[in-house]
């Protein structure tokens, strides 16, 4: 699982960094999915898939940016889910409360 694809012998890759790629933060996207904040999690997943590609091309900055974006979207997904829920709850109780007040 930890073995990256080894390049064919004799073809040195153009400025290939030997360090591991940036953390693509997929674990947060998965967490987002099993705790139901899907829509923004999907943006995070797309960003995650770009990390390794960009890294293998030698685009270190692009890979790091994709990794950071993946993290950002996963965090937004995780935060916005409960926020929408709480807003919904507040509106719900407000309406329900007013209705209850009105019926007495």
């Amino acid at each position: 699982m930890e073995t990256p694809s080894n390049p064919p012998m004799g073809t040195p890759e153009p400025n290939q960094p030997m360090s591991p790629p940036p953390d693509n933060n997929l674990v947060w996207a998965i967490l987002c999915t099993v705790l139901c904040c899907m829509p923004l999690g999907i943006v995070s997943i797309i960003k995650s898939t770009q990390v390794k590609e960009l890294w293998l091309k030698g685009d270190t900055a692009g890979a790091q940016k994709a990794a950071n974006d993946a993290k950002k979207w996963a965090i937004w997904g995780a935060v916005i889910g409960p926020v929408i829920y709480i807003l919904f709850l507040v509106v719900y109780f407000l309406i329900f409360g007013l209705y209850a007040l009105g019926s007495y």
């Binding site: 790629p21 674990v27 998965i30 099993v34 139901c36 995650s48 898939t49």
Partner: protein
């Protein structure tokens, strides 16, 4: 010295969060207590891929794997990957290392997993056998 102090602080923080999480989900049953129900189920009436996860975690902490599986099989199956992935992330954060879980970089795995999640989302909302087994009440 300062570096050691931050490291200790980080370890303490992780243990507090993890311990709190385990204690809460061990002692309180999400189906009867003050836990937030799933916002998607609450607003739309449809189950999402995460519905049943909290109750499943409660049962898992009590050693009831079959019960947990009935609430949310996808979550139970994902849990080992999540624990491993989060473990690596936390270790990197504490010790400043850069270990990577290479499975998470595989396109096949990523699209396969999220494809399954979306399929699972649809199927668990079908109200007839055998798909109703996937719903959190099954």
């Amino acid at each position: 010295m300062l570096l050691e102090a931050t490291k200790t602080l980080k370890i303490a923080l992780i243990f507090t969060v993890l311990g709190g999480f385990i204690l809460i989900y061990y002692f309180f049953n999400p189906s009867t207590n003050f836990f937030l129900p799933c916002p998607i189920y609450y607003t739309t009436g449809f189950y999402c891929p995460g519905c049943g996860s909290q109750r499943a975690i409660h049962l898992l902490l009590h050693g009831n794997i079959i019960g947990a599986f009935r609430f949310n099989p996808l979550m139970v199956l994902t849990l080992p990957l999540l624990i491993y992935g989060l473990g690596i992330t936390v270790a990197n954060w504490i010790f400043g290392t850069s270990y990577r879980f290479m499975l998470f970089y595989s396109k096949l795995f990523i699209f396969g997993y999220f494809g399954i999640a979306i399929l699972y989302w649809v199927l668990r909302n079908l109200p007839f056998y055998p798909f109703n087994l996937l719903s959190p009440s099954g």
